[in-house]
């Protein structure tokens, strides 16, 4: 149907969708019913959506999450966020060029009083934490309203094609994120006391303890909850560098949304900034979608994400540049290349180490900030308020599932329900799931070279236990109740050992277990590897380059078997015939051609003070820095003079960057005065507050 549609994916199964026509700049294009305008445009290779009214800078997708407003387009004459608005049949979509004309309306619409309702529990956010909390409340028959601004529940779980870490018993470890979302949602929908409003956004928490909610993008409702639970997740941090607002520079979460949720191939070649789990996983997702990953920079000497994720990416042939930073993005109307440089111990780029790479997309994955505005307002206004998941503390989704479950019980208890004692171990588990990766041990290979056994290429302490739960013979153990300790394979003398069932190979979320079988030919044992790419991309008899855990090349070996697994887990098992000397070291095969990862012949120079800090109002680092140098310490004053923070995103994208500029100028944090957080969470038509919204074109739920 289009070059940019992902018709085939090793993990995701494209669902057949009804096709509709819409118009982009007057040209008729085809879209899938139920997809956003942004994905419909990306599906036709359209990545420049609009031009900024201040300086005509090209604008494209940035957060794909309704948080910023860089993806503004005109849909049937009205400005909308392309990432949130669903494309409709015959919709006329146009770029915004200059300030949009406010359409004429001849007759005043009928206005109605705004509906108000009370509810025992309101949960803002239907991701892992919100769903888990709602399930606990639902089990107890407590009337709960769960709202979510997206078109389906699950939050960021629906973007995760990889199997989850964590604890098998507690948080579905070993199951893919998308499948967890479905499981949680299906369970939640069995509880009649929980009402669910999707496509519904909280706009403000007011001082009279009411929460203003835009329901299905049309109707405004004021909800007064007895308890408020904020599980609104996180937003991606932005980064200031020259070229940072070019279309093609966007968040890793935005990328996962377009690629994994909407199955649109957003890019040909991408570069990743940030070696945390989000960046590492995004790289993996890109490869699965057939997108080349040119490289990844991480400012720290080591990637901060799980080593198994890092290793997985390295093994697929993605260069990982640690102690490096992005200097600039380049391109006329969208990204054409990126320049990086090595950092010295004081985090300064080292002259002469600059390298440029051709790419069309730069993913920013430098971390997340909690979406906790509503939690803070709820607290300020004396409401019974809780937060869970990333809105409380940034951590893995597995941690969010668990903290949501605990918070659900705490909410019930706060409302006077007897929930018994919440187990102390639960709080301990919650802490364990939230923990950052622990120490890394050197990899030690088993000395045995007979029979069959797994090699665990798992050397870093992270909360994860599926391998220890899956072994039929109970031969893989964690020598602690703390699931962060490393698993070990232990065959007992005289007892039946490993049967080669391959379950551990399949279940490991880090793809870090191989099986080595010496039984047929001790000189050329068969190595079994998990593979999450297309089965037919690798043929039996072909030579593949095998790599060790870290991604170092070990040599070329022959593929002797490719097998899909019966239970629908979409992992493929590869059988390789490897020389004895390297068999145990093999942890993966190289999938990416090294042509795409080569630097360009020349390096593209950077500029400095023209870096955009406030992307809504196009305020540069130079303008703000000049004020800081003059002694300005009150961000309100900087705002008054420059309009930074006054744009439509509500200072969500620039506040941290302004703080960073202060730091660069040596101003201590305590001297900086922040601007207050004011409603609304996003821009909403005036008519909504007048009660005019009664149409319901795209919504599914009903009040």
């Amino acid at each position: 149907m289009s070059l940019y549609r992902i018709e085939k994916h090793p993990i995701l199964i494209p669902e057949p969708a009804e096709l509709i026509d819409f118009f982009w700049k007057g040209r008729k294009l085809r879209a899938k019913k139920g997809e956003t305008i942004s994905s419909a445009l990306f599906a036709h290779g359209e990545r420049i959506f609009s031009y900024h009214y201040k300086d005509h800078a090209p604008q494209g997708i940035f957060c794909a999450n309704g948080q910023c407003a860089q993806c503004l387009v005109l849909a049937n004459g009205l400005p909308v966020k392309a990432c949130m608005e669903l494309v409709c049949s015959a919709m006329r979509v146009e770029p915004v060029d200059g300030l949009p004309e406010l359409p004429r309306v001849s007759e005043p619409q009928n206005t109605r009083p705004i509906k108000e309702m009370s509810i025992p529990v309101l949960i803002i956010g239907g991701g892992p934490a919100g769903l888990s909390a709602a399930i606990e409340l639902g089990k107890r028959g407590i009337e709960t309203l769960l709202i979510d601004d997206k078109h389906r529940l699950g939050g960021k779980l629906v973007l995760q094609t990889h199997r989850f870490f964590g604890s098998t018993d507690m948080v579905y470890a070993g199951t893919r994120g998308i499948d967890i979302a479905t499981k949680l949602e299906n369970e939640l929908r069995t509880f009649p006391s929980v009402r669910i409003w999707i496509q519904s956004t909280a706009l403000a928490v007011f001082s009279d303890q009411k929460v203003g909610i835009l329901v299905e993008g049309m109707r405004y409702v004021l909800v007064k909850p007895q308890a408020l639970l904020v599980t609104a997740g996180a937003r991606e941090k932005s980064l200031a560098f020259p070229g940072n607002t070019l279309p093609g520079v966007y968040g890793a979460g935005a990328f996962q949304t377009i690629v994994n949720r909407d199955l649109v191939r957003s890019s040909e070649k991408l570069f990743i900034v940030g070696g945390g789990n989000v960046g590492l996983i995004a790289g993996y997702h890109a490869l699965q979608a057939g997108i080349s990953v040119v490289g990844l920079v991480e400012a720290l000497p080591e990637c901060s994400g799980y080593k198994v994720h890092r290793d997985k990416l390295a093994r697929f042939g993605v260069p990982i540049y640690t102690s490096h930073t992005i200097l600039s993005a380049h391109g006329k109307d969208s990204v054409e290349s990126v320049t990086i440089a090595k950092l010295d111990e004081k985090w300064k780029p080292i002259p002469g180490t600059e390298r440029s790479f051709a790419c069309d997309t730069i993913l920013i994955a430098i971390g997340l900030d909690p979406v906790n505005e509503f939690y803070l307002k709820g607290r300020e206004f004396g409401m019974t308020t809780f937060a869970a998941g990333d809105a409380e503390e940034i951590a893995e989704a597995s941690a969010a599932i668990f903290s949501g479950k605990i918070k659900g019980l705490e909410v019930a208890r706060a409302l006077g329900h007897d929930v018994g004692e919440i187990k102390k171990e639960w709080y301990e588990t919650a802490e364990i799931l939230k923990s950052k990766p622990g120490k890394t041990d050197p990899e030690i290979y088993p000395s045995d070279e007979s029979g069959v056994f797994p090699v665990l290429h798992c050397v870093q302490e992270i909360p994860c236990d599926p391998c220890a739960n899956v072994c039929n013979q109970d031969l893989i153990h964690l020598h602690s109740t703390d699931i962060r300790c490393l698993p070990v394979f232990e065959a007992k003398e005289g007892e039946k050992g490993c049967t080669g069932c391959e379950k551990c190979v399949t279940i490991c979320p880090g793809l870090a277990i191989s099986l080595v079988d010496y039984r047929k030919d001790p000189e050329f044992p068969i190595v079994t590897l998990p593979h999450e790419f297309f089965k037919d991309s690798i043929e039996v008899g072909r030579l593949v380059t095998v790599l060790d855990t870290e991604g170092n090349t070990l040599g070329d070996v022959e593929v002797t078997g490719v097998r899909a697994i019966k239970i629908n887990d979409r992992t493929v098992l590869l059988k390789l015939k490897a020389p004895r000397a390297i068999a145990k070291k093999i942890a993966g095969i190289c999938v990416q051609d090294n042509k795409v990862t080569k630097p360009m012949g020349r390096y593209v120079a950077r500029t400095t003070d023209d870096t955009v800090i406030c992307r809504c109002e196009r305020v540069t680092a130079g303008e703000i820095r000049a004020l800081i140098k003059q002694g300005y310490r009150d961000i309100n004053e900087i705002k008054a003079v420059t309009r930074a923070c006054m744009g439509s995103c509500g200072a969500k994208a620039c506040t941290a960057l302004i703080h960073h500029l202060f730091r660069e100028e040596g101003v201590p944090e305590k001297d900086i005065v922040d601007q207050p957080n004011r409603p609304l969470f996003m821009e909403v038509p005036l008519s909504t507050f007048a009660g005019c919204g009664d149409k319901n074109e795209v919504g599914r739920g009903r009040l």
Binding site: P100, E101, P103, E107, A640, L680, E683, P685, L686, A690
Partner: protein, 387 residues
Amino acid sequence: MAASKKSFDVIIIGAGSVGTPTAMFLAQEGIRTLVIDKFPSAGQGSNKHAIGGLRATHSDPAKIRICLRSLEIFDTWKELYGDNIEWQKGGYAFAAYAEPEEQTLKELLVAQKAFGLNSNWLDQKEFLEVIPDLNPDGLIGGTFSPDDGHASPLLSAHAFFTQARRAGAEFHFNETATGLIIESGRARGLKTNQGEYGAEVVINAAGAWAADVAKYAGLEIPVQPDSHEGAVTEPVAHFLDPLVVDIHPTDTSASYYFFQHATGQVIFCITPNPSIWGFDTRETSSFLPMVARRMIQIMPRLTNIRVRRTWRGLYPMTPDGAPLVGWANELKGLLLAVGMCGQGYMIGPGLGEMLAHLIKGDLSAKDRQLLSFLSPYRKFESMEKLK
């Protein structure tokens, strides 16, 4: 202690709508001026909450005189000082959809005309020519004053501040006044949480907090704040020139007003009925539904404009809705410039210039007489008609 304290000619308490331009005019006259403010930068009390409307079309002669001068200051600012404060001479338009409003506006017009104000009654057709997007249904007409307008309170507060400092005024932020220095029955300076400063004149320009400051001199002044909420929309292409006011009261609100700012955003505000007294500036859930219905009714074209942000600010109110300006009878050297009733932004510059003359001693007889209308010791009889 007394010997080491730094001395000025004038100390102003409050770097807001009144204090900042007053400091500028004083400093430009060579008067050594110190401004003390508890907030971290200029205009952070209530000035930044102002929506930016500037008009001389009042009913009180002193306010008319002062605001005419303010308009002149805004109108010539760019020419004189170079910075763009987003001043737009779009006029003020008071719409009448019912007879009581028609009557009120026409009565006011008589007084305003007597003061030489450029304001006229327009019938329905003429009014719609000025504001083509107004709902014609039931519209009788309205008054239109083309010389009024609007500007950016944020940029102008900063502009006054910059010029005040350039002229030599000193500003101390994050510093709270704690008491007056009184010697031989007159004000001799100010005590703050960070030190003491000498001056022969102390100006109370503390806005919503003026009554607390007056207490340092043992004065009770009838200033207490009520609050109004305002909002700003996304920017759209220019479609509206004047600031539109609807004074028709309903059961939950009195007048409301809106205009399109120079940068394209529509800014609006409403007067709740009954008034909400006190210092609470936290967001309420009632504001947007209250104002949205009325705005869409009067201008259907606003249906689709998207609201960006709301805020709530304080109106330091007096019993009759007019400011309290003049020397304190109880304490020599203390000058009151308080109770602007939500109009500090439009009164401040004109008043600041007048106060500079008052302090220098060269205020004209006519202005002296006009200023007496704002005397803190007047009898509070009638209520200002257009708050």
